[in-house]
Amino acid sequence: MNVPTNAAAIAASVRAGELKAADVLEQYLARIERHEEQVHAFNLVLTLEARASAAAVDEVVAAGGDPGPLAGVPVALKDNLCTRGIPTTCSSRILERWRPPYDATVVRRLAAAGAVVVGKTNMDEFAMGSSTENSAFGPTRNPHDLDRVPGGSSGGSSAAVAAGFAPLALGSDTGGSIRQPAALCGVVGAKPTYGLVSRYGLIAFASSLDQIGPLALDVRDAALLLDAIAGPDSRDSTCLAEHPPAAAARLDGGVEGLRVGVVRELAGAEGMSADVVARMRDAADALAAAGAKVDEVSVPAAVYGLSAYYLIAPAEASSNLARYDGVRYGARSRTGTDGAGDITEMYLDTRSEGFGAEVKRRIMLGTYALSAGYYDAYYGQAQRVRTLILRDFAAAYRNFDVLLSPTAPGTAFGMGAKTADPLTMYLNDVCTIPSNLAGHPAISVPFGTGADGLPVGVQVLAPALGETLMFQVAAALEAAAPATPVPAMRAGGQEGASR
């Protein structure tokens, strides 16, 4: 049996009746069985549920029906996406045993498209982190080098795709949480325009920044997955009311005549490693060689993005995470069950025991930023920076169709290398944060390797609802890119692997 490595080909074969979803699934489950212990991409592998969904897909095909554009494609879900009756933990002790009574909108859309959910992936607790080391259930390792981090917070999802545990995964991106781990794991990861994908059922970190997006082995698959989940949803007031243009509409369109701007402030940002910048220059040259007009562009306010983000995101998080108080669901401290303490002690003990250090740090930061007398200097000021970033992006897009920057400052770093210094860790997001603050789409595409032989990602940024063009440029970039290293575990046991 010859199972293709990419989702588009799997879905085409399953829809055509040439391949059984059940067989596709078993191949991926076998790889999970062999390598998951080393990688720890998943909090939960849904073997039985996945077999049932694959069988259902095969039945639809056998009955002459069409299961949908993702027919029989295994998909890994970040563990902050609600799945009915299935634990959804955010990699936090406080939600360890919580089972949502409902499915996230994206989960329903995946089912409607014929996808097969294989498991819930590990993440930084409540999506707060850039290495997946802030998980209450232990870190995920990078399939390219098990001593290194996969990035984060969607590190479980990026590692699952890189390891070949699933051809597709969903992540969430608040400040780079899809794109940075995609870069560090050598896969494609996109954050859509804010409002393109419903957030209903995505456990909130920072509501005005969070977006769900695809991770995949190639640009076409990422577009396919995005197109399956995007679109209006009456359950999310911030979701756009109109159906967006398809991300996959012009993947073969090339870049002839397109104007590409290299963002000066991001390429030259603090802590950028030379090889990452070099790969981005290579990418720019490749686009120029393919007919694009490449030039430098300044987005001055982008340098303030990191500071603004670390006020806005914690502020919203401090409010979003208040509900984990031990009263209704999730973990409750013994203080609340043995009748010894009063309600205040129960709150304090539940939250002290239930949240990890990074989550507590951000709740405290956010609480402070919103406090009486400080609101205007912190939260208010950060919102003004957000306006400036939007203004500067708007100016840049008057002269350019898309922008280019590195995705992350370096390649995958060693486990534990940055845990002692939160600020160094935060710097990982310097290039990705401006798109979240602006609500704009951005995608990370693998482009060569660093001096250490590990994958490097290059980021394509586009204006709001510019997904079609963004994926078009990303596909051109991908076509011009040097081969991305394939982790041994994904290469192994894979007949006829392409790419």
């Binding site: 902050n80 919580w98 949502p100 009456s234 007031s237 409010s319 208040a322 205040t344």
Partner: protein
């Protein structure tokens, strides 16, 4: 000891929370219904489950706009904020509320006595669940355990904040009473204070009469009726005056009205006040009602109590702030009076109608709903035209309210017919003759004996006598 006495003025501003009577809750499709099994009208959204998101109920916005329009507010584009604090009845540990940009601002309300009270704002917010503390003193911190019912969580509220324009407990009661009538008239609320769909907090301060400065205010919570509102304000004003008179100062705090003890007690001081950390609710978009929508709300607004009282006063010759007129409008029974006017009734007939509605019909609002308007108009015409005495009219009305029917027939069945003047004179003469001693005293000017004779005339005629005419006859015989 000082001998000078200071005249004190009480300054009151009220915050009224009004539950909107929408079919569903503010941000989800759960039913908005009072008195059901605890925790049955709940879903992921109103339980604030992880990942759930609010979606604003359009009818709630429309009702809020109706309230704002009825209170002469500026209806404007508005924004929701999150008000953050921890309490077990609040599923998300923040309340979605409006903060600096409310949907309704700067209006006013006229009391029946003509005094105008400013309305600072009337903003939208969601209700919390309901906590029952078991054991201890009924407060959360010493309870053995607490039960929470989230059926009320997410019910839409409008909070109406008055300017500090009220000067007495009586004014405050009149304000709430009038506001309640307006809320009911708009159809936005059922106005039931006893079921908690209308809840009132009072900001109370005192100052020497004539002083332009406001005193330090205390916010009083937990008044469950108009009566306790009045008592609490009077108690609190007296407490503050006594405190200042004895050389103390009032400190800004929230105080709890204890209905049983009849006093207010400190809940939390200004220093202990919550820092709500308001910020714009990122899960909702701004509310921007179109001009057409605002206009359609204005155009479809029913007549408001003040206008209706003026109309009743005009029709009946009574004053707009008379108790009977206020009662008729408060209960929304003005259509009964209008039916009389429509049937060609005179001002006197309209006045009879107002009295009958305020005195009899009002005591049984349920029966009032089933009362046939045309039959009622006929009854009033019979009374106003002298075919029935007041007592007879009341009896017929009661029969109509109990079982319906035609007033002419009921009157006939009861044997009520107008007693002609000569028959009445005959009865009066007989009663006078039968009680010579009493008559002598009455004739000598002892007016209190009128009742004695009237009583005898009433029983001698089985209540058919027009007692007004009878007492006139008695006086003429002196």
């Amino acid at each position: 000891m000082t001998t000078t006495t200071t005249e004190w003025e009480t300054v009151i501003g009220l915050e009224v929370h009004c539950e909107l009577r929408t079919a569903t809750k503010m941000f989800c499709g759960c039913r908005n219904s009072f008195g059901e099994e605890p925790n049955t009208n709940v879903c992921p959204v109103c339980l604030g489950l992880p990942g759930s998101l609010p979606v604003l109920n359009r009818t709630a916005v429309e009702y809020a706009m109706r309230i704002g329009t009825a209170l002469h507010c500026r209806v404007q584009p508005s924004l929701f904020h999150r008000k953050n604090y921890f309490y077990p009845d609040m599923p998300k540990d923040y309340q979605i509320s409006q903060y600096d940009i409310p949907i309704n601002a700067d209006g006013w309300l006229d009391l029946p006595n003509g005094r105008r009270v400013g309305i600072v704002r009337a903003h939208m917010e969601e209700d919390t669940g309901k906590t029952t503390h078991v054991g201890g003193g009924g407060r959360i911190h010493d309870a053995a355990h607490s039960l929470v019912d989230y059926n009320r969580a997410g019910v839409p509220l409008v909070e109406i904040v008055s300017a500090p324009d009220l000067r007495s407990a009586e004014d405050a009661r009149a304000y709430v009473d009038e506001l309640r009538s307006i809320l009911v008239a708009t159809g936005a609320s059922d106005g039931k204070m006893e079921e908690g769909s209308l809840r009132v907090d009072a900001n109370v301060s005192v100052r020497p009469a004539g002083s332009p400065e406001f005193g330090t205010r205390c916010e009083i919570k937990n008044m469950n009726s108009l009566r306790s509102l009045g008592r609490a304000i009077e108690y609190e004003a007296a407490r503050q005056i006594a405190l200042i008179t004895e050389g103390g100062t009032v400190s800004q705090e929230t105080r709890h009205w204890d209905e049983a003890a009849g006093r207010t007690g400190s809940m939390r001081s200004k220093e202990e006040a919550y820092d709500y950390r308001y910020f714009p609710e990122p899960d909702l978009v701004p509310v921007e009602p179109s001009e057409e929508w605002i206009r359609s709300v204005q155009d479809s607004l029913p007549r408001l109590p003040a206008d209706r009282r003026a109309a009743l006063a005009g029709a009946s010759g009574m004053t707009a702030d008379s108790d009977a007129v206020i009662t008729v409008v408060r209960l929304g029974l003005d259509d009964l009076v209008e039916a009389v006017v429509a049937a060609g009734g005179s001002a006197a007939a309209a006045a009879v109608a107002v009295r009958r509605v305020a005195n009899e019909v009002a005591s049984d609002p349920e029966a009032a709903a089933g009362l046939d308007r045309t039959a009622f108009a006929r009854l009033v015409a019979m009374e106003a035209g002298g075919e029935l005495t007041a007592a007879q009219a009341r009896t017929v009305l009661k029969a109509m309210m109990d079982g319906g029917g035609d007033p002419d027939r009921i009157a006939a069945d009861l044997g009520f017919e107008a007693m002609d003047a000569s028959a009445l004179e005959k009865v009066v003469d007989e009663v006078v003759a039968a009680h010579p001693a009493e008559w002598e005293r009455f004739a000598a000017g002892e007016d209190k004996l009128t009742g004695f004779f009237i009583g005898h005339i009433k029983s001698a005629t089985d209540g058919k006598a027009d007692l007004k005419a009878a007492s006139a006859l008695l006086r003429s015989r002196r």
